[in-house]
Structure formats: structure tokens, C-alpha cells
Assembly symmetry: C2
């Protein structure tokens, strides 16, 4: 009874009905359909989609003329300027693989990345030329170095390259060469993890995933046509969570910002009619605090997509009060940034604010374009009970998942064991199928046989007005095995005592969960702002030894 | 210098990072994330996404148990009821290929389709059982016949099947068998063209295109979460332009309607909080006229996506006045319904209404998910000048293009000649890159060496308040070669004379373009409402002979 009439040869793929998926399509269409619409605002620059596309084509042609081959790595060290948006298209158009590097790294880490990725071109914003020069001293590779000049930069550093970014563009022809992917599985980008645990790993993105997640961001956010998107999220974080591609697909406007300072963000929202922005909860907190101190509200509701940590309830309440409309998403570099979302339900609108905040702090469910985001037992891969209690590991499966780690088959196999990408984030699943992170695998505290979620304790600490940053880690304890220690960075002009903090915790937590010690002072963070708990554990070891 | 580090074997596709694209994903996610949200409203029925998904799984399991194999054709003859929405998922879940058949066809055409598609199952709404029985008498195939009972039907016809649709569902297990596509190029649906010219052709859709265009509709319409979608467009038209899949992806609600009557549509908009609907301009006209006669406006702005013909300026103005927000799209069965759109530009909002209407009547540009919609010389495939004058043929290329015509390699090769799908619609391209159809290839009128667009003449005729339907075709003429004849169906209660019509045309058209004859009476249409100009040409031949 089986039939193959639907698979006759003449029904196969051909030029008319099959094109490899690539986000390059988005800029090509938008440049044709909306050539005069503003693509980029950066300081005094207002650049149309037509001009942006022509500049990207010229840069791609110039790179090819200068010898860039298919799958060459092109490293870029640049804050959120117009160039950082353009390379999201010009580098793929050249057939190169875009490696945006974290601008907060030290020279040694930078050199490691340049060498590991085998960069053949290195574009450097002139505000970062000293750092880049130091890295090049340490690196083995000798890439073609290109200086990105930027008028928004007060005092540029020294030129360190063979030519400037504008020279490169001038060398190219807008109707010249370009390389579209022959296969949608081809690499489009290389993004190094921040290395909270061990050496950075090079996460390889494919064109297919970049296309799908580029659209996927629009679906989850129900994006309108022509969003005006403020770049408060670094473009070196998972290619800005794929948003250069999303903004192109929706014919929006990229509003650049060299540094995400609260005042500048608030000013830009008003000056540029910002409709959408992304970032960690700290950005939300900063801007809200600034607005409060100015006695201002946002001039219109601004959509904010936040990830990196669950937004604390207090921050949510305050930011929504001044006019932010917050969506909480969740992801990792390996899944193109966020591809999990706390999809909002209409009936939640009727709940009290604190319950809404609690619901919104959950990591939730997969994006429409991601097949699965599930909580499984790390070893058996069995689904955990949907009881809001049983811990498991969040795992992903779908089309917005990396190809793997560059030149690292071992780490790749480990991350993909059993057919899922393993996030290493520990979570529960609630009866409504929404996941909630309870801890990073390594950060769980087991005290007297009871599990303590450091996140829960941190959540309580954040309710103290004096707390700017809080981190809770396990300290070894003779009696209990482990006890939680709290590390606190105080907000400016604030003070507190250990006893006050502990007393507050006892009001809000089961006794066994309360910190046994409180340490005030700076908290060490990675270049991407993740708290380095292993450094805190070292501090504990030192204190216990003393 | 070429490198293959990005294509190492361990960076290949695997279960964790590659899933064949299929719209089945949309219902599976929405059933998990929004199980209690209403999926379908049909008369008194309100059915959640969780229940809808379970019913689809049960039907799929039952079909497999009854012997349905991968790539079996499952034909469905059903108006826009709950069952017609469910089969968009249950049939693909069984591995079958969904063949929704036009309910307005005659028995012989139906029999042709059943035989050509080799249907192994035939589901029939009981309102259509007489027609289906007649077709089965004529057909060679002996499919399993399933009666779809429907409570919204006043007087059901006789049962003609071996079991009912509800029996089928009762046979299945919601956790039983299902077949997900092994390859996203697998067939998902078979849609027969309406056969304006010759025998119907079976257009084969692939899962990849259904997934992408399902999302693509959302992108073009900037869909919100949870749209409430009224089924005024037949589900047998290109699988309802992919909207069963779109509505699932956006966790919306399908509001069913057995027949698209103006009063029922208007009542449903109000009763069910309709936010979105689709259909030909005739639907827009009908509902607007009904609202005007009731002295009502729409209770809130309703988004209307229209295609099939350019919406006449007068209809646009009236429908927008009562509260429709109209988007004009363009497509054909072969490209999954509309995948061209008259993408609106913000600056057009400031133009006078008639200019807006003129701009909106253009077919426009490709969808974001469709790579190309271009106007080329039919033979040389050279792009036509962007002058709004030079005629060419609209052609498509991209991922929302059919696999080809079932068992018809000749027609497939012809349609795909030169690497593009040929629409046979003749159009110009304006300097802003927007295409505008000037005529179907066969409908152009050449009079005294001058080309006359029958659409242009029809556009003028539609401005007459007395005109319900107008069609202009070429009549042979000794002196001029051809002259345009106008066929007019008058609106109810209206009257007009030939001289009045011609006088009106002379006010608004160059003399040579004005109809030489005007014929009043019914205009023959295909089952999908397309005017059968070849029948009009026959009438002309008869009149000229007499």
C-alpha cells in the first residue's frame, strides 16, 4: 500500500523551491522593500537599509578580494556601534564566520580566542586598540587588522591596523562578490562562552538556526513592523541574541549605544522613540533607578526582554511601574541566546502583582522555533515529575541549537549526550509545564541532608534595599556538611550589619536556609557579569583556614 | 587557506540540534504551553488546545491502526467546521497527505481528484454526502469513507461511510502511534488548482514550506499572541493559506463558520471577539454592505487579509470606514497561498485616501519567508524595467514553493522553467520595487496595436454603484483586431443602461480602452469564485455568430 508518488524525482528540491535558510535573506529583502527606512542610528549617524546593505556588500566584496575564504574566522572587538551591526551581515556575506569577542576580556583571553578560532581578520574598535594590541602580542595568529573608527568615541586609541574599516568598505563593490551559504548547516558565527567553569569554548552557529531564531524572537515578542530597537544588550552576547537578524527581518531600526549607561539609555528612549530593548535584569534596575531619581516615567510603554537571571520581584514591580513591559526569557550561548520564554497567560493578568512577579520569574517553556526545553534527570534522561519540587537539568533539542564546540569533540559529545543539549542548569517543572531554575548544578547547597537553593536565598537578600548584589555559596561545615554563606555588595551610600541581614532572612526563610555567615565587599564577576562563585569558595577556604 | 574546522564530523546534524521542520511542532508546543486556551469555537463547541491535540493524536493513531501508510492520500470534503481544522494536524500526524477538496465542485471533478490523488481515506461532512456519494459512484478508487457529523448542520444528509469521524477518534489512543516527518521535504498536503485553464493539477506541499509560511503569515501580519481568527476563507483554499498552522503557532483561537454569510460574519465578530480574518475582496464588500445596511460599525478594528483580486478602491474606502484594517496579499496555490504582500510604508499614511487605495491595490513584494517575487520576461527571464510600464510575468523562488504537480512531470518542468515558479500573472514593477498585476497572460486585450489591461477597465466599472461584478474580455473586431467587451452583474435592486456605462468609462479612460459592448447578466465563475473568462469568450462568439 506504500506509495512513492510524492517522492518522484521531479518533485525534488530545485532552485525554484529550495533556498538554504540564512538571515542574509532578511537584509536583502528589507533593502529592496524598505530602502529608505532608517536601519541604524548611532550618534549623529542615520543610515538607511539601502545604504546599510550596500556597505555590507562592499565590505564583503573587499574581504573576498583580500583573500577571505569560505569559513575563515573574522574576529571583531567592538562595542554596540554601527559597525557591530553591519558585521552581522557583511561577514556572512563574505562567506566568513563572525567571531564577536567580549570587549571586557583581558588580553590573554583575547589572544586565546584569536588563536583558537584561527582568526584571519581582526576588526578592532579604536576605543579598544590598546587591549587588542596587547592580545596580538600574545597571540600566534597574525590576522589582517582593521581599525574601526567611530565618531561617537571621544578619544580614540592608536591605529593598530593595516587599514580602517571605511578603507575596507571603499575597496569593495556593492555589486561585487558575495557568498551565500550552499548549505544552511554552514557556520555563520563563533561565540565563546564566558568560561565560568574552565577554558572558554567556541560555540558554532549555523545559518539555519540564525534564520529560525531571528524569526523566533519576533514570534515570542509579537513584534510589530518597524520596531525601534535600542542596543543595551552587547552584540557580542550570542550575536545580540540574534537581534541584528530579527531587526532586519522586521525592517526595524537599530539604535546603537557605545556603553549601556542608565542616563544615556533613558535619553535615547525619548530621543529615538525606542520601542524595544533587551538585557540582563541589572539594566532594568539601573534604568528604573535613574528614572525614579529623575522623577520620570517612560514616555510610552517600552518592551524589555530580559534574561541572564530571573528578574527579582521588586525590580519587576518598580520597572513596570515606570512603564517597562517585561518579558522574561531564558537561554545560553549554545542555543543562540534565549530560546526559552516565560510565555505569559492572559488569566495571569488578574493576579496580585507579587504572584505575577513570581510567575514571571520562571524560565518557562521553549520558543515556538525550538522543539524542546525539558527538565530531565541528568543521567537517565527521564523526565522529572511535574510537581514544582523534583530537581532535574534543563535540556534543549531543536533547530536553534549550536553545531557544537569548535575543535572540541569531547565537550561537544558531553554536551549532546543522549540526544539533548545539557544546560547544566538545575530546575523543577511546575504542573503547568513551566520550568523554574533552582540552581546551577555546582551551586546547590546541601545542609543537614536538605537541599538549599542558593537562588532562593539570594532572592530574599535582594529584597533588602541595601543590597546591590548578593551571592550565596556553600561553605563546608563540620556539623551540617555545608552551610550557606552570603556575600553582599552594598548599594551606594547604604550600610548594614551581619545580624540585620541574618535576622531579615530568618523572617523570610526556613531556619536551615539562612546564611550562617555574611561577608560584605566586592563580588568577583566574569567579563559578562556572571558571578564567579568559585572565587567566593576560595575566599571561604581562606577565611576558614585563618 | 580554506579550512574545514567548521565542518568536522562531530559538528554534523544530530537529534539535539536538528529537527525536520513541520507545523506539527506548533500544535505540540501550544498543547503543552496553553492547554486550556480555546483552540476552536464552532457553534456551541468550545474546545481547548489540549483537547484538540488529544483528538488529533487519537485520530492519527486510529488511521494508522486502520492501515494508513506514510504518504497515503487522505481526502477531506468539509466546510469550515472544527473537523476541517483538526485534519490539518491529525492527517499529517498519521503520516498521510491531506487533500482538502473544494466543496463547490461537481461530482465528476471530485471523482477525478479522488482517482488522481489515489485517496485511501475520504472524510465527508454530512452536509455534502449526496455530492460525495455521486463522486464515489464515478471514481475508481474505493477509499475508506468516514462521515463527519456536525451539530451546526440543520439537516444532515445520509450516512455514506463505514464509520463516523467521532467513531474514528474513539478508536485511537492519544498516546498511541504518530508519524513525524523524517525529512522536512516530505509531502504534507495536496491541493488541486481550480482549473481555470484545463484539468486541475495536484499541487504538493512539503512540511518545510508549511512550517515556514505558517510563521511567515504571522510576520507579515505582525500577529499578536492569541489572535482570534474567523474562518471566512475556505480551509480547502491552500490549506486556508496555512492559517491552521499559523493560529496554532500563535496559540490563537479558530472560530469556525459553515458558510461565509455577511450577517453570520458580522454576528461572529461581535460574539467571539474576532481580531483577524481572511478572504477575497468580495467578503470584505459583503460584510461592509451588511454593516452599512444595519447602520453599524465594527465594534473594534478587525484585521482583514485579502487576496484573490486587488481590492477595488471604493470597497477599501468603505470597509476601512466601518473599521476593517485591510492588508492586501497575493499568491497562488503553488506558493502556499499568498506569499506576496503589499507591505505598507509608514509615510503612506499621510497620503489622500484614493492614493492610499491605489498603492494598496498593488501586489507588492515577497513575504519575509519567500526569497523572491520578481517580474521577469517570460522567455528570457530578464528582469523588466522598474518603470511601472513594462509588462513581465510574476515569478517566485524560495522555500514556500510547492514540490511540484503530482504525477505531472511535464507541467512541473514547465512551471519551474529557468529556476523560478511561473505564475502566469502579468505585471509591471514600479520604481519602488512593488509589483502590480496588469493582467492574466490570457486576458490582455490588444486593440489597434495598443495593449489594454482588462483589470484597469474593470477597475473603472467597479466604481459604478450599480456594479456587483464586472469582467472585461477581448472580442474579435475586424477593424481593431480586438475590442473590450464588458460583462456586468448588477447589484440587487440596481439598474443601468449600456450607454450609461460606456459614458462613465469615457469619463475615466482613454477612448480606446472603453468597452465597445456592454452585456448585463450572470457571470460564470469557477467553484472558487474565479471568473471564467473563457465562457464569456464563448458568449461573444455566439453573439457575433447570431
Amino acid at each position: 500500500m506504500a506509495s512513492n508518488k510524492y517522492n518522484d524525482d521531479f518533485l525534488g528540491k530545485r532552485a525554484a523551491n529550495f533556498t538554504p535558510l540564512t538571515p542574509i535573506s532578511f537584509i536583502e529583502r528589507t533593502a529592496r522593500v524598505h530602502p529608505h527606512h532608517t536601519a541604524i542610528i548611532d550618534g549623529d549617524l542615520r543610515q538607511s537599509w539601502g545604504d546599510t546593505y550596500r556597505r555590507c556588500r562592499k565590505a564583503a566584496d573587499a574581504l573576498i578580494k583580500r583573500g577571505v575564504c569560505k569559513d575563515d574566522t573574522i574576529a571583531v572587538l567592538c562595542p554596540n556601534t554601527a559597525a557591530a551591526v553591519e558585521v552581522a551581515f557583511s561577514v556572512p556575506l563574505s562567506g566568513g564566520v563572525l567571531n564577536m569577542i567580549n570587549t571586557r576580556l583581558d588580553a590573554a583571553s583575547l589572544a586565546f580566542i584569536l588563536d583558537h578560532g584561527e582568526a584571519t581578520v581582526f576588526m578592532v574598535d579604536q576605543g579598544l586598540s590598546d587591549l587588542a594590541a596587547a592580545a596580538l602580542e600574545l597571540a600566534d595568529v597574525k590576522p589582517l587588522v582593521i581599525d574601526i573608527e567611530d565618531s561617537t568615541l571621544g578619544e580614540p586609541g592608536a591605529a593598530i591596523g593595516s587599514l580602517t574599516y571605511e578603507d575596507l568598505i571603499a575597496e569593495g563593490d556593492a555589486c561585487g562578490q558575495r557568498r551565500l551559504p550552499e548549505d544552511e548547516w554552514d557556520a555563520i558565527a563563533l561565540n565563546y562562552t564566558s568560561g565560568t567553569t574552565g577554558n572558554p569554548k567556541g560555540v558554532v552557529y549555523h545559518h539555519r538556526g540564525a534564520y529560525l531564531n531571528g524569526l523566533g524572537e519576533g514570534v515570542e515578542w509579537a513584534l510589530p513592523h518597524h520596531p525601534v530597537y535600542l542596543w543595551t544588550l552587547p552584540l557580542f552576547h550570542c550575536n545580540g541574541w540574534c537581534f541584528p537578524w530579527t531587526v532586519a527581518a522586521y525592517a526595524g531600526t537599530n539604535v546603537c549605544l557605545r556603553a549601556p549607561e542608565a542616563g544615556a539609555i533613558l535619553d535615547s528612549i525619548k530621543a529615538n522613540n525606542i520601542s524595544h530593548m533587551c538585557g540582563a535584569p541589572i539594566i532594568l534596575n539601573m534604568v528604573t533607578t535613574e528614572a525614579e531619581s529623575r522623577g520620570e516615567k517612560l514616555p510610552w510603554p517600552v518592551k524589555m526582554m530580559t534574561a541572564g537571571a530571573a528578574p527579582p520581584a521588586a525590580v519587576l514591580a518598580r520597572s513596570e511601574a515606570i512603564g517597562f513591559d517585561v518579558i522574561h526569557v531564558y537561554g545560553l550561548t549554545e542555543v543562540y541566546g534565549p530560546t526559552g520564554v516565560c510565555a505569559w497567560k492572559q488569566q495571569w493578568n488578574e493576579l496580585p502583582a507579587d504572584q505575577q512577579a513570581e510567575l514571571k520569574s520562571r524560565q518557562g517553556v521553549p520558543y515556538v522555533v525550538q522543539e524542546e526545553m525539558v527538565v530531565l534527570d541528568s543521567d537517565t534522561l527521564q523526565a522529572t515529575a511535574m510537581d514544582g519540587q523534583t530537581m532535574g537539568e534543563i535540556m534543549f533539542r531543536g533547530n536553534a541549537v549550536m553545531k557544537g564546540y569548535l575543535k572540541n569533540p569531547e565537550a561537544t559529545e558531553k554536551a549532546f549526550a543522549g540526544g539533548y543539549f545539557h544546560s547544566e542548569d538545575l530546575a523543577v517543572v511546575h504542573p503547568d509545564n513551566y520550568a523554574e531554575i533552582k540552581d546551577r548544578s555546582k551551586d546547590i547547597i546541601i545542609s543537614g541532608g536538605e537541599n538549599i537553593s542558593s537562588i532562593e536565598v539570594e532572592g530574599v537578600l535582594y529584597r533588602l534595599p541595601c543590597v546591590a548584589t548578593a551571592a550565596v555559596v556553600a561553605a563546608p561545615d563540620e556539623k551540617w556538611g555545608e552551610t550557606p554563606w552570603a556575600f553582599i555588595e552594598l548599594a551606594e551610600g547604604q550600610s548594614a550589619t551581619c545580624d540585620e541581614v541574618i535576622a531579615f532572612c530568618r523572617e523570610h526563610l526556613a531556619r536551615f536556609k539562612c546564611p550562617s555567615h555574611v561577608v560584605f565587599g566586592d563580588i568577583p564577576k566574569t567579563s559578562t557579569g556572571k558571578i564567579q562563585k568559585f572565587e567566593l569558595r576560595k575566599k571561604i577556604a581562606e577565611q576558614l583556614r585563618d
